[in-house]
């Protein structure tokens, strides 16, 4: 079955693949923000993840090690942010920005020797034989599945588990959580590291699967869009999926339009994902307060247990 020359299943698959980096990064940031921390360094962690993953995969020949290294690099960078904001009590907005600026520079530096190098491909079984869904699954890769599994895990974790309840409590009122004896800083550090690992993994999906090679600045704002998607999602996991697909859909659509040679200049098509993200942000925030849309009450506030 084809639709105007495009197979809808292939289109859906490419949409899902295109949204995976953002989905991962937004999912990680969602957990971070639910713990009450605003980390604006997603872009920096993603791009460091992208180059770490690629370099490791190239050097070891194993794309799996590449994915692991990307997650570790993202988490390591996130922990620098965590140390500054949680231990040294620095301003989260400024520190997150610093993380992005530093990450972009560091990634460019690490990427010196890898420009144009192809990573080893991530193995994926031939599933095209499966009826109907085969055409969809055939387009997938391991990271797409990892991201969906993580999404389900985070959703269950936040909704059901004791640990998820504690995490939400810390994000909602860190003073009260401290008063009840919960260790605010370690809990937030864990959330921050998880967010970094997700962002790193998202970056690696770009450099190992989607592109797949290294170019400077290859994340092109994906980290910022991920931040916007967390707001769009109202801090709920399944909303993140919707937001990521919306973005993925826009990207795939504009790429298809570019390929089809539509009379709109390429630059304006390339601009569209950013503008649509802004539009969605406006619609979500219009006329509503912070808590009404589900933002954790302690988000971005500095926690210091003085007495």
């Amino acid at each position: 079955m084809t639709f105007a020359g495009i197979d809808p299943l292939i289109l859906l698959a490419s949409l899902m693949v295109a949204s995976t980096p953002i989905l991962l990064a937004a999912l990680g940031e969602l957990v971070v923000e639910r713990s009450g921390v605003l980390n604006l360094g997603v872009e920096g962690m993603m791009i460091v993840g992208a180059i770490s993953g690629l370099a490791t995969a190239v050097e070891t020949g194993s794309p799996w090690l590449g994915l692991g290294a990307a997650a570790l690099a993202g988490a390591a960078l996130a922990l620098v942010f965590g140390f500054l904001t949680q231990t040294l009590l620095s301003n989260q907005v400024a520190t997150g920005l610093a993380l992005t600026l530093f990450g972009l520079g560091l990634a460019a530096l690490m990427g010196q020797g890898y420009i144009g190098v192809k990573p080893p491909p991530l193995p994926w079984p031939d599933l095209s034989g499966i009826p109907v869904l085969g055409r969809l699954l055939d387009q997938f890769d391991a990271v797409v599945l990892i991201s969906l599994a993580l999404l389900a895990a985070v959703a269950v974790f936040l909704k059901r588990g004791r640990a998820g309840l504690v995490l939400r409590a810390v994000g909602e009122n860190h003073d009260a959580a401290h008063g009840l004896g919960y260790r605010v800083v370690p809990i937030r550090m864990a959330a921050i590291a998880f967010g970094g690992a997700c962002a790193g993994l998202g970056g690696a999906h770009l450099s190992l699967v989607r592109v797949p090679q290294w170019t400077e600045g290859m994340t092109a704002g994906a980290g910022w869009i991920a931040l916007a998607i967390v707001v769009f999602a109202g801090w709920r996991p399944w909303g993140v999926l919707l937001g990521a697909y919306l973005f993925g859909g826009t990207t795939v659509l504009q790429l298809n339009l570019q390929a089809a040679g539509v009379a709109i200049p390429v630059e304006y098509l390339s601009m569209s994902p950013y503008l649509i993200t802004i539009l969605v942000l406006v619609i979500m925030s219009a006329g509503r307060g912070r808590t009404a849309i589900g933002a954790p009450a302690s988000l971005g506030r500095i926690f210091h247990a003085s007495r």
Partner: protein, 507 residues
């Protein structure tokens, strides 16, 4: 019966202050023991040590005869200690059941927990709906959540930190019967308060703290309130006096004021009517969260309202912003000192300029004359006896009482025609509180129209001419304070409380 908890010579120092200095006391099962003291006497530090939130520098504690040194609240809970905090340790966006679960060591599954909460609320007369989101509850209901969180663990020792400061008299009564029931079942209760009346009514023993030291142990049933007060303050507290002057014409008229809630869990104001006459103090009582913040913001001009809903000397001012109102002589002192009345990290000079810009002529063509601002600040410090190291120091470096004197002094020195003060003596030591009340009374004697919003009923009865209660965003009818009984006030504040409790009950 032997003591449950024995505290022996606890000392805890913070930089610049010894919060607890060799404190000893004992609490026995089945008894309600009061810990009395002014703000800053060291009560909170002591309970934090008992609850494992702070570690003492010296001294020991014994629980059931064995050494007790909790490293965390978790440890304390395992030893059978539970605590109801003064500032609620609740999570607004979570449900009642989730809030209870967070206070437990080993919570059962949610559905099971909900059943237990229901059972508990019946047994102790604490109507609660486990599924409701806490942010939408009244102060009284929130406290029930805190208490339920403690009771569900069958504590041997229950610590209550200033529990009635947010309750109506009737809610306080029902709290007392819950506590009496608990203590009759054998629990020990450590009850912290500075309200002498309720301590005499409720407690079997009392330890009085002053500046970190135990100054006396008394049986509250046989000690007079005056004696307890003198022990707490360390001398006779000064009583504010009033010269007494005839009340004049209505100046500040509130006529059908409505306002939206300031925060997601705030209270909307509905059709508020009141008038404040020259030379009188209108006291507005009510439990926190009944629209006080919204009412204050509407009066100060931080939120705009219908122009005619607020009139001053006949002119509609509802639309005017804070500075335009200051121009007319309507000055305000918010409840929150740090972060609303004053910017914490800014100097006293800058904080003086914060509201004094207009009436003290501190600007020339938009440029600020800092010399004049400094002399204004110096004048406040001198006239209101603010203990500060100088005008250049940050507002945050002042003690609560001194900063509050600065804030009130800043407004009063600007010669207000009308003054609106929210909780003017909240968290302030007795001497500063007396000074502030006296300043407000003097201002009234000079003919200003004054509106004081407070949750401290004693304070309102002491200084106001008339009293009205704010309840669920509505203001009741104002009555002359003279001849007003506590029972009557309780009824005025009660309002729709009853129905709310019934509503929760019927679910």
């Amino acid at each position: 019966m032997s003591d449950l908890l024995v505290i022996d010579g606890l000392t805890k120092a913070y930089p610049g202050v010894v919060a607890n200095d060799g404190v000893s006391l004992a609490v026995a099962p089945g008894r309600i023991h009061a810990l009395l003291g002014e703000n800053g006497a060291g009560k909170s530090t002591l309970v934090k040590i008992i609850y494992g939130l702070a570690a003492p520098d010296a001294g020991r504690m014994f629980m059931r005869g064995r050494e007790y040194s909790p490293a965390s609240p978790s440890d304390a809970r395992r030893s059978g200690v539970a605590m109801v905090f003064q500032h609620f340790s609740l999570f607004d966006a979570l449900t009642v059941a989730e809030n209870v679960a967070l206070g437990m060591e080993d919570p059962p599954p949610m559905s099971h927990l909900a059943r237990r909460i229901r059972g508990l609320s019946e047994a102790y007369g604490l109507p609660l709906d486990p599924g409701r989101v806490v942010g939408g509850l009244s102060a009284g209901e929130r406290q029930r959540v805190e208490i339920a969180r403690c009771l569900i663990q069958d504590p041997d020792l229950l610590i209550m930190d200033e529990p009635t400061s947010v309750l109506t008299p009737r809610e306080a009564e029902s709290l007392f019967s819950t506590l009496r029931k608990l203590s009759s079942e054998g629990a020990a209760i450590l009850y912290i308060s500075h309200k002498l009346g309720e301590i005499r009514a409720l407690c079997d023993g009392a330890t009085v703290l002053r500046r970190g030291k135990v100054v006396a142990s008394r049986d509250p049933k046989t000690t007079t309130e005056a004696e307890l007060a003198a022990l707490m303050v360390g001398g006779e507290p000064p009583r504010p006096g009033r010269a007494g002057r005839a009340v004049g014409a209505a100046r500040l008229v509130i006529d059908g004021l409505a306002a939206k809630p300031l925060s997601p869990f705030g209270t909307a104001l509905k059709d508020i009517r009141a008038e404040v006459r020259a030379g009188e103090i209108l006291g507005v009582g009510g439990v926190a969260g009944n629209g006080q913040d919204e009412f204050f913001a509407a009066l100060s001009g931080e939120t705009a309202s219908d122009p005619a809903a607020i009139r001053f000397d006949g002119a509609p001012i509802g639309r005017l912003g804070p500075n335009a109102r200051r121009g007319l002589g309507i000055l305000c002192a918010p409840e929150e000192r740090l972060g609303h009345a004053a910017a914490p990290d800014m100097s006293l000079v800058e904080n003086a300029a914060l509201t004094g810009m207009r009436r003290e002529n501190l600007t020339r063509r938009g440029f600020i004359d800092w010399r004049r601002a400094r002399s204004f600040s110096d004048r406040i410090i001198e006239r209101f006896d603010v203990r500060a190291q100088g005008s250049s120091h940050a507002a945050r470096s002042l003690s609560g009482g001194n900063l509050q004197k600065f804030v009130i002094g800043r407004e009063i020195l600007q010669r207000p025609e009308a003054l609106v003060a929210n909780q003017p003596t909240w968290g302030v030591d007795a001497a500063a509180a007396a000074a502030i009340r006296q300043a407000i009374l003097d201002l009234a004697d000079r003919g200003a129209a004054i509106l004081v919003i407070s949750q401290d009923l004693d304070e309102l009865l002491e200084i106001s001419t008339r009293f009205a209660a704010l309840n669920g965003g509505r203001l009741g009818e104002a009555r002359a304070v003279e001849g007003l009984t506590m029972e009557r006030i309780g009824l005025m504040m009660g309002g729709s409380r009853e129905t709310e409790a019934e509503r929760a009950d019927s679910r």
